[in-house]
Amino acid sequence: MHTLPQQLANGLILGSMYGLIAIGYTMVYGIVQLINFAHGEIFMTGGFGALTTYLILPDGISMWIALPLMLIGGGLVAVLIAVGAERFAYRPLRGAPRLAPLITAIGLSLALQQAVFNWYPDAENPRVFPTLPGGAFDITDNLKIQSGELFVLIAAPVCMASLAFFVRTSRTGRAMQATAQDPDTAQLMGIDTNRIIVIAFAIGGFFAAVAGVAYGFRVGSVTYDMGFVAGLKAFTAAVLGGIGNIYGAMLGGLVLGLAEGLATAYIADIPGMDQFGGQGWASVWAFILLILVLLFRPQGLLGERVADRA
């Protein structure tokens, strides 16, 4: 088991990224009961926005200056697309049967992929992402973390803690909770619920962009279709944690990341299971976990039973 610390670290790195994306799914669902299937593509455009920002910057610029600018640039792109999708695609369909916005979201997801594929220069191939300086840190003999991976391990808790602080203590945060619990009555309090919905999309978009940058650092490149599987995994994480619950989204992401990491590393050691190990099976184990949770705890790890909400 001398590989265990490394596998746990890998799981946490992957899980932090899932968690960051999952928060966008869960916040939007919590407030408008919409599964925004285009959210994976918002994550992707965040990655491309950050890459573009880097490419515009002068050559040889220090990553300490480039990184914050990349986060701003990628964040701006992702937030604009997320808010634009809400304003022009989802808001006109509010009050329509729930299938309509869902199909719209899937269509938007494909449209965004194709738009990047067609219009971003050289997007048919993976676009090389900059790396963070520092190389690998040897924490112990059994544990090595790349500086690019360290980024998400710091960014995810910072994002999560800021969001929790914002929701719990700010006036807008309280208005968000009220809108999630009862949008009609929230309006009777004087809350502009449309504004709250826009804020939820914007926060989700920004967190997705942070995850997009983390993906670029970890994988070394961004691709036009990177949002598909990542989005599906993050959606799984949101359901796993209890959809509508922001802490659940982060927890679900971490659990999913750890389960994937540990399953790929150790399942082959179980007698008779040797052909089921390896990276190729990672998604299989992730979705089996989802099915198990849905069977035995359909409200998710931190979700409340629907009866509690009445």
Binding site: A175, A178, T185, L188, M189, G190, D308
Partner: protein, 238 residues
């Protein structure tokens, strides 16, 4: 003197079904006006339209000299019209204090908000004792108190109460009605929707009887209370 609220030929429809078929009434400052009638008469629809949650088909709503037509719900509160909705609709996972603070969402005077929270706790001591507790854990009657307290937190010029006695025990119902009487005595203007016609009419300066979307009878509370047809239809006498 013009009335605080003036409703003229108001029509509201859900799709093709007209739920309110052209009603007119007014509420003067300091008055308690009640709309009574059976389920489906259009009382709740009327209140939800006044507070902006539903858009009227036609008709005119003037509040404090300004038209309410086309004004979004969150701006109507700012104009001084508070609505304590049917079914209480408190925010179950927020605390009692947080629910009350949300009632004062648009106010900036934190000292005044603090004072009004104290006033709500004086009116309903049980809320003060449990201020940190999640509102969803309160009993039905306590939730009704919270809903009323929350609506009062916006310092409304007109307080609309939708079925405050619904689903409550007789003792709790008396308590809620006594509170409404107390608010009236303090000069609060109230538009009260009730199925408990006896209690509502005893309190009201003006009453209107609604049947399937129309006002069929209007008068002072006392007149209606002694009206033969009202007694038969709503007060359970033969």
């Amino acid at each position: 003197m013009t009335a605080l609220l003036e409703v003229e030929d108001l029509k509201v429809a859900y799709g093709k079904i007209e739920a309110v078929k052209g009603i007119s009434f007014s509420v003067e400052e300091g008055q308690v006006v009640t709309l009574i009638g059976t389920n489906g008469a259009g009382k709740t629809t009327t209140l939800r339209t006044l507070s902006g949650l539903l858009k009227p088909l036609s008709g005119k709503i003037m509040f404090n000299g300004q038209p309410l037509n086309g004004v979004p719900a969150h701006k109507i509160v700012a104009m001084g019209l508070a609505h304590s909705p049917e079914g209480r609709r408190i925010f179950p996972r927020l605390s009692i204090a947080e629910n009350l603070q949300l009632g004062a969402f648009l106010r900036k005077d934190s000292a005044g908000i603090e004072k009004d929270m104290q006033r709500a706790y004086d009116l309903f001591p049980i809320l003060g004792e449990r201020r940190k507790q999640a509102a969803g854990t309160l009993s039905g009657g306590e939730q009704q108190m919270l809903a009323m307290g929350r609506a009062l937190m916006s310092q409304p010029k007109l307080l609309m109460l939708d079925e405050p006695s619904m689903g409550l025990s007789p003792i709790m119902m008396q308590k809620i009605m006594a509170t409404i009487a107390e608010l009236k005595a303090q000069g609060t203007t109230i538009l009260l929707v009730e199925q408990n016609a006896q209690a509502a009419l005893s309190l009201a300066d003006q009453g209107h009887v609604m049947e399937v979307g129309s006002i069929v009878l209007s008068g002072t509370g006392q007149d209606l209370l002694h009206d033969e047809s009202v007694r038969k239809a709503y007060l359970g006498e033969d």
